[in-house]
Amino acid sequence: MYHLLGGIFLGWSLGANDAANVFGTAVTSRMVSFFTAAILCSGFVVLGSVLEGQAGMATIGALAQQNLYSATVTSVGAAVSITMMTLMRIPSSTSQAVVGSIIGVGLISGADLQLLGLIKVAICWVGTPIGALLIAWLLYRSLGYLFNSLSPNIYTHDELMRAGLVLSGAYGAYALGANNVANVTGVYVGAGLLTTFWGMLVGGLSIAVGVITYSKPVMATVGKAIVRLDAFSALVVVLSEAIVVHVYAWVGVPVSTSQAVVGAVIGVGLIKQASAVKGSTIYRIVMGWMITPLIAGLVAAGIYFVTHLRYVP
């Protein structure tokens, strides 16, 4: 079972990284304490993983033929690249790291890669920020209309915002678990080491541990450096991201919550006609997206290659 450590490590880094996308703005604007956010986030991640994680498991498990060894190398390659991104405080995509690793290991080991499956995944990746942008635009317009009709005083406004951010954060965590648990243990389920249920449970729990132990610094980056949003816009962004990620959980393709957040922020920015996202930070994120699968692929292929070297006297 020690093979699973690679997956658990990956789950930990995913939790540390992606919790920021659902509770980052609420925590950094001090509407919710980090402790409350971490508890809510980890609980709902486990719930989402166990209740709705199976579709993604099927997709990731079928991308390439896996054995126990290749599954472990895939996980470790992805986890190392994600951890590097986390330490550099760059929100990155675990989904792209895992797929990058699967391709890297697949190419070097000569395993069959499912091209159609990869194309489906790539299309969904492109659809993630675009979908989030559209949903954010619609939500901002419709919820904004309702909100203005309500015309609440300052206290009711605060209460609504705080409750909205907590609820949408919890929903976002649920969607994160449902969508991304396949990144953590999908390859092990594909390799036959775990049943789907145990894969979802172990994956969900390892993400939860990452949320509790190391998500605070990334939350600071997401909340303060990337977006400078008012409470209502933050609510719309988190809700849009949660909806998109949840939809892709049903489709069965793990996607990037970071990409969804950036898409949603741009959607809100289109309405407000303001630059709510710092250009330099977006550049860093986009570079992260491009570098993450590349690094993951190279690291995984490198590990696979090195561990297959044999001494020939």
Binding site: S29, R30, M31, Y140, L143, G144, F147, N148, S151, P152, N153, I154, Y155, H157, D158, E159, M161, R162, A163, D230, A231, F232
Partner: protein, 234 residues
Amino acid sequence: MILSTLTEPQRYAVSLVDLFMRRERKVQKLMGRYMETWIGCIRAFRDAWDIYLNEGITEEFLYRVDATHKEESRTDDMRREIEHELYAKALIPESRGDILGILETVDRLLTEAEWTLYELQLQEIVLPDPIKPNIVKTVDLTCSCCEMVNKAVRALFVAGGKRRDIEELTDEIDHLESEVDHLERALIRGIFKLEIDTGEKLLLKGLVRRLTKVSDGAEHVADRLTLVSVKRRV
């Protein structure tokens, strides 16, 4: 909200919100009490002026000046209590800043009102008859302005208040304030046409300027309220 009209689940929801938002609810209640005392102070100021205009500086006038001072001191205590709650992290940071800013401007307005009465009392100012009608009008308009400020602050901060009411109320404050400005100019022109000592003229001018600072303060509050309201419009 009347709790008895709610169903059991609604009551449960209200208690749950109260549990999580108890600091916010406390600040809201304190703000309501603050504004009650604040408008009480303005009404005491009004009473003092009425007595002064009809009877001059009498025991009754001095009693009203003292009442105004006591009410003003109570608002100071309440303001400190609200600030304490806000610093203890009630509400989101943006709202904390807005409330502190509004409290500061609203409080300044009372200080000006109180000092108008002190000028009358300490300098024993006697109003010449030709300027009295305009002074009466100015006091009337100033107090109406303050009543509007009370309503506008309540619309934004007190339970049941609606943000959409702010625009109408702040427009009214602006309108009243510009009428006071007209009267101020007319009064100063009138004062300097009077055949009295120049020193007396300057005293009267100082009094008028001090009195009109109250409505200037009201306009300042209105501007801040508009800003706070607009910031929350989606």
